[in-house]
Symmetry: C2
Subunit: 95 residues, 2 copies
């Protein structure tokens, strides 16, 4: 996934309202040939799926789902112990 992350636009899903991320994703898919990677961790994963599906829906077939990857990331926890967190990457493109 390293090369993909470098070459494409990435939208990281956080605590903002969902429509902020839908607009950000749509903006990065403005031109034909563009692509975007929607990334989220933990509880934000559901929101990432919402953002991807709304983007696909609003595009009326103009945007394509290229793939979905899930992974476990090991983060430093607040108590110093490593913390396993699930992550998702959803790849969309405008062919």
């Amino acid at each position: 996934m390293e090369a993909i992350t470098k070459d494409t636009n990435v939208v990281y899903i956080g605590q903002k309202p969902m429509m902020n991320y839908v607009l950000a994703t749509g903006k990065k898919l403005g031109e034909v040939g563009s692509s975007v990677l929607i990334q989220a961790r933990g509880k934000s994963i559901s929101k990432a799926v919402d953002v991807a599906l709304i983007t696909l829906d609003r595009s009326n077939g103009g945007v394509k789902l290229d793939g979905i990857g899930i992974n476990t990331e090991v983060l430093p926890g607040s108590d110093g112990n490593p913390l396993n967190v699930s992550s998702i990457k959803i790849s969309l493109s405008k062919p």
Copy 2:
């Protein structure tokens, strides 16, 4: 996905503690050649990803991720209007 749903075991992710679903998933992957479909809607999508990743992790390579699908489901809302809800299906198998 219709045929897959009929032929495989399905674990629906709900409000129970995550480990309940990890154990249920592991049980359905007891035999070589078995497969399971982990399904969730809305906020439970994050938990479904956790369950899949923990199952993969605990299997030490014995369980394979076959695919991930996302979809918008239209449910009847509490006010009678249709409600769009995101859903995820994660397919795991023991080859």
